[in-house]
């Protein structure tokens, strides 16, 4: 038997104590590993969000609220000045409106439409859930003080006037049939989504009415989202004319030639538009979105440090306790020729054995708990800090915000090896302090105390 075998065997000298220490140590290592996993997953997500951020700046009228009709507005002349800023590649201008289906009861409330001319022959592509129907027990939409939907009720239809019909609200759309409209021309042509075309039996060349005029379907598109597919797209000039809002713009998206110039262009746009507009770069929005993730990173870092300290203290106190308990034995083996180094090595191996056993439990528990803990931290943190993301042209940002919650922690061998290495370092540090007490044991004193 050598010092290694003896060290390992000593670790099992007191089975109950060994079991207790290993379990406590395992929990501490599991917590540390979970925090390491969470930290890495959150770090990866932050990098992914940062890398997915485009080089755009969103501009909306100051204090714009999509849920209200009473908003300030920007004008095309306001935006003309920002087109001259260097490094600006393009400026997409948007105007949104809401149409009530002809003959249907209008929904009054936030975002309700009061213009009697703002009607359409189209019906919304969105079907109401059964909970809103008569007899349902879920939340109700209140129509004129009644919670029961009238038979002629229909959700309003959103209409978007844009200078870039292929990127309404900042999201790409795919033309499924027909062709894209020209965003710079004032013509009674529109693009509708596949869902809306299906709901209203529209094909390319079909017509429908809006604002009292007849519009022709030039193209049918798919945006990939329900909200993006419940919309009619016309050119900006067309919607300005139809809605009698000449020169009015409700949102704009400025594309910068390079992400490196995003910050300087954002400042220049803010400077040009002053207090009349809210200007936010994709970077800033991403920073706001990942702020809760950074908080999680900080929390997981402190928890990781705390768990490592707890593990170290457990091993340290355990080894000090064991050394004190075996003081006589240490004195005896010193008397029969053992050097301090050989005794310390034996105790270190004992500590490493306990730690490795704790690590096996800890790593298993950490691997199992890592993903749920990460999701829990992200859900709790992001749900309390992310808002509705209201405002025109925020589609891309909403998708970033949504993707933040869609986090998945994976455990690689590198994490496990780091964890194991950290555990062994903890054991060595913990036992080396105890070794100081071993070196202090004087055999003569032990003999005298007999």
């Amino acid at each position: 038997m050598n010092v290694v075998t003896r060290g390992i065997r000593n670790a099992f000298r007191n089975t109950i104590r060994t079991f207790s220490i290993v379990v406590i140590l395992g929990l501490s290592i599991a917590l540390a590993l979970s925090m390491l996993i969470a930290r890495q997953a959150v770090g990866d997500k932050i990098n992914s969000v940062k890398s997915s951020v485009g080089n755009t700046v969103s501009v909306s009228p100051a204090g714009y609220n999509a849920m209200s009709d009473a908003n300030n507005a920007l004008t095309t002349s306001d935006l003309a000045s920002i087109k001259t800023i260097s490094h600006v590649s393009s400026v997409t201008e948007n105007l949104t409106g809401r149409l009530t289906t002809e003959g249907a009861t209008a929904m009054v409330g936030p975002g309700g439409q009061s213009d009697s001319n703002a009607t359409t022959s189209l019906k919304s592509a969105v079907n109401l859930n059964s909970v809103n129907k008569e007899g349902g027990d879920g939340p109700k939409i209140m129509i004129n003080g009644s919670s029961t939907l009238p038979s002629n009720f229909s959700l309003p239809v959103s209409i978007l006037g844009t200078t870039d019909p292929l990127h309404p609200n900042g999201n790409d759309v795919t033309i499924k049939s027909g062709k894209a409209i020209d965003g710079s021309k004032d013509a009674n042509q529109a693009m509708v989504s596949t869902a809306m075309a299906s709901k209203n039996n529209l094909k390319v060349g079909s017509t429908f009415t809006a604002y009292g005029e007849t519009l022709t379907v030039a193209g049918i598109f798919d945006s990939g989202t329900q909200a993006g597919n419940d919309i009619v797209v016309v050119s900006l000039a067309t919607l300005q004319r139809l809605s009698d809002q000449s020169g009015v713009v409700s949102a704009a998206q400025v594309t910068v030639d390079s992400a490196d110039n995003l910050s300087s262009v954002t400042s220049a746009v803010k400077s040009k538009l002053g207090s009349s507009a809210d200007v936010q770069s994709a970077q800033e929005e991403a920073e706001n979105t990942i702020k809760p993730l950074k908080n999680i990173q900080t929390i997981s870092m402190y928890s990781l440090i705390g768990a490592v300290i707890a593990g170290s203290v457990i091993i340290l106190l355990t080894m000090i306790m064991i050394v004190r308990e075996r003081r006589r034995e240490i004195g005896v083996v010193k008397a029969i020729g053992a050097s301090n180094i050989s005794i310390m090595s034996q105790f270190m191996i004992e500590a490493v054995t306990l730690t490795v056993l704790g690590s096996v439990i800890g790593i298993a528990a950490g691997v199992i708990a890592g993903n749920p803990i990460t999701k829990l931290l992200v859900d709790n943190s992001t749900s309390s800090s992310t808002g509705m993301g209201a405002g025109p042209g925020r589609g891309a940002f909403r998708s970033i915000s949504h993707s933040v919650n869609n986090i998945s922690a994976s455990v690689g061998w590198d994490i496990i090896l780091y964890g194991l290495a950290a555990a062994i370092i903890i054991a060595v540090i913990g036992s080396s302090i105890a070794s100081f007490f071993i070196a202090k044991v004087r055999p003569a004193e032990v003999m005298r105390a007999e």
Partner: protein, 223 residues
């Protein structure tokens, strides 16, 4: 041979100084069994610690196997303890989670004896002190006091020491077992040509040793 010349040990605690051993001088030739008797607190254990290089004397010299132990530095002292000295304790002090044979092999491992050699020697020694094969594989907790002391004696002999220091080797044993252990030590002193120095309260045992010393308040006299 053990030659002790004017060994003095003074313990200082603050301003208080206590002389535990004073000008102790004696010689025990190789192969002889000597005993030291004395009351509790007379300095017997301190003297044994000094002879076993567990404690440094304040002054004086101890020569074992032609080497002055008092002049050895720390590393050499560890080697000296492991290879020139064998300890036998009243409470046996065996390592509880090692078997009898592993306890005997332990000092040889510290002295870097090969595994094969230490296994063979441990078996031989345990057989020599009267421990049967199955008893050799038992842990101390499953051995009687007398058997444990036999294991302790075998462990003390493991590295063929020049000097065996025994602190009350029969103190925890009944008189019959004590006599057997004494006879064993006496025989080993002759067969192994080892000097044995035992501290004892038992005057009947002390009377049978080759030399008997009396320690009184740190001062040694030969009986």
């Amino acid at each position: 041979m053990l030659q002790v010349d004017k060994i003095t040990k003074i313990f200082a605690s603050g301003d208080t100084k206590v002389t535990a051993v004073k000008d102790v001088t004696f010689t025990v030739p190789a192969g002889q069994f000597a005993s030291i008797i004395g009351r509790s607190g007379s300095g017997k254990s301190t003297l044994l610690s000094i002879l076993g290089a567990l404690e440094k004397p304040t002054s004086g010299s101890i020569v074992v196997d032609d080497k002055d132990v008092a002049k050895l530095h720390d590393h050499a002292l560890i080697k000296y303890r492991g290879q020139k000295i064998g300890f036998i304790f009243q409470n046996y002090n065996l390592v509880p989670n090692l078997t009898a044979i592993e306890n005997v092999m332990l000092p040889m491992e510290y002295a870097k004896v090969s595994k094969k050699e230490r296994l063979e020697r441990a078996k031989k020694l345990l057989t020599q002190v009267g421990l049967e094969d199955d008893q050799q594989q038992r842990k101390p907790g499953r051995l009687s006091g007398g058997q444990q002391q036999r294991v302790a004696i075998a462990r003390a002999l493991a590295n063929k020491p020049k000097l065996i220091l025994a602190d009350e080797p029969t103190g925890n044993l009944d008189s019959q077992t004590g006599k057997m252990i004494f006879d064993l030590l006496h025989g080993l002193a002759k067969t192994e040509n080892t000097t044995i120095l035992a501290v004892t309260h038992d005057l009947s045992i002390a009377g049978k040793t080759d030399k008997t010393f009396k320690l009184n308040d740190g001062v040694l006299t030969e009986e």
